[in-house]
Amino acid sequence: MFHKRLYQFVFIYILGIGFLFLIKKVLNLSDYVIPSPVEIYETGRKVFLRYIPDVLNTLSVAIIGHVLSIFMATIIGIISRLSNWIGSFIKTAAFNIQAYPIVAVAPIIFILLGDGLSSRLLIAAMICYFPLLLSFIGILSEPVVDIEHFYVHSGKMRWQLEVKIRAFENMNKLVTVISGSATLAMVGTIVSEFIGASSGIGYSIRIALYQSDLAKILIALFLIGIFTSLYLAFLEWLGRIVVRKWEHNS
């Protein structure tokens, strides 16, 4: 499982690099535009070990941000089930906040929160919570009539129960969305580091970009891919366990 994800990623990465080399060859570009394999290898030797703690740093922020946004999305998803004005209002607010590109909002966030961990976390969470939110709203606002009938009818329905029923019935979809949005948490963290922080792999990418050093960026992307794949594989494994356990009970 873990192996498979890694193999697939490495294969895709090699495809991508191959494509770049092809373009380089065909258009006869210099090493400045697209680095040579030797340069990539050399750069890799130099920065690989140095980038690993950066990626781990980023990954840890991403994981916290991811958990945070699962939390946020759950809450908003639950609130927006309410068909009254508040539910609809919260939903609109959630949508509108998302409509603001992070690059425009980030300065305001940095003004308010400074450039510490909290800004990074917030931005990571903001970027990945929206897909979660959309799915959660979709799932949590659709009744499962044949199961809910009894509870509604007998006055036993509580919102916790309603959420549990709908989540349970859509377990597979939830697992897909949650594990999938992990990559977005990673993206969010990297973007926030790119824009404003002074640590993490996004920060390293920004420096490499200032130096027009595509070789470094390619190494960074490789590491990001590897670790994201691992996180993804881990979540999928977890998801499978949860689903199996629940299905076993049922």
């Binding site: 044949d146 199961i147 009938h149 009894f150 009818h153 036993k156 549990k164 349970f168 009970n249 049922s250």
Partner: protein, 228 residues
């Protein structure tokens, strides 16, 4: 105790009404039936009485108290065993009835299973069981035992009548013999083109210990078939 007066109802987007000036009533506790051809409107009437549909004209008078509506497609959530679910939804004062019901419904072997691992008839029975454990006054059983075998069904009906002599049941079933045998009144629902749209036939109201004469039963059955 429940009286429907001059009900008119038509589903949105359909050509013909389901009910055209329908009147019927159930005026005593006991085990009653709602009978009629498939598609005649039994489930619709049940939902009207249970207050789950609106947009009808006429009047539904409910003097019984709390009405429950159970139907055969209901499911239990999947996260724990049906036994746990039943225990959870049963009010304290009815907890002592759980075992009695589970046993007489032939469900003892199922209570540790998840709902999705049960056979159809087992699902029917588990679902009905949890309704019987509520504090209801009037219970509509919309084909609630449709997928259960006849012997078990008979046993269940006797049990219900034994346990809840003061409550009112409206049993929807397609078995003429069964409704004739076990029910007090059988409301036979007919096409909206017929007037009156419903007629009430007196059933044999069989209970444990009492025996029904074959001749009487056949008379009731014939009567039902004739008015359908």
């Amino acid at each position: 105790m429940i009286e429907c007066k001059n009900i008119n109802y038509k589903y949105h987007g359909t050509q013909y009404p389901v009910f055209n000036d329908l009147s019927c009533k159930i005026d005593e506790p006991g085990f009653h039936a709602l009978f009629g051809l498939s598609g005649v409107g039994k489930s619709t009437l049940a939902r009207l009485i249970a207050g789950q549909l609106d947009g009808f004209t006429g009047k539904i008078d409910n003097k019984t108290g709390k009405i429950f509506y159970s139907y055969n497609l209901e499911r239990l959530p999947g996260w724990s065993s049906v036994g746990e679910h039943i225990a959870k939804v049963t009010p304290v004062q009815n907890k002592n009835r759980i075992n009695e019901i589970i046993e007489s419904f032939g469900l003892s072997s199922c209570i540790d299973s998840g709902f999705s691992h049960l056979s159809l008839g087992q699902r029917n029975r588990i679902n009905l069981a949890r309704y019987l454990l509520q504090d209801f006054d009037f219970l509509i059983m919309d084909e609630s035992l449709a997928n259960v075998d006849e012997a078990t069904r008979e046993q269940i009906i006797f049990k219900i009548k034994d346990m809840y002599p003061q409550k009112t049941f409206l049993y929807i079933s397609h078995s003429v013999a069964e409704v004739s045998m076990f029910c007090k009144n059988i409301i036979v629902l007919r096409s909206f083109q017929k007037s009156p749209q419903s007629l009430t036939v007196l059933g044999q109201d069989d209970t444990t210990g009492k025996s029904v004469e074959r001749k009487n039963l056949e008379k009731t059955m014939l009567e039902i078939v004739n008015v359908s």
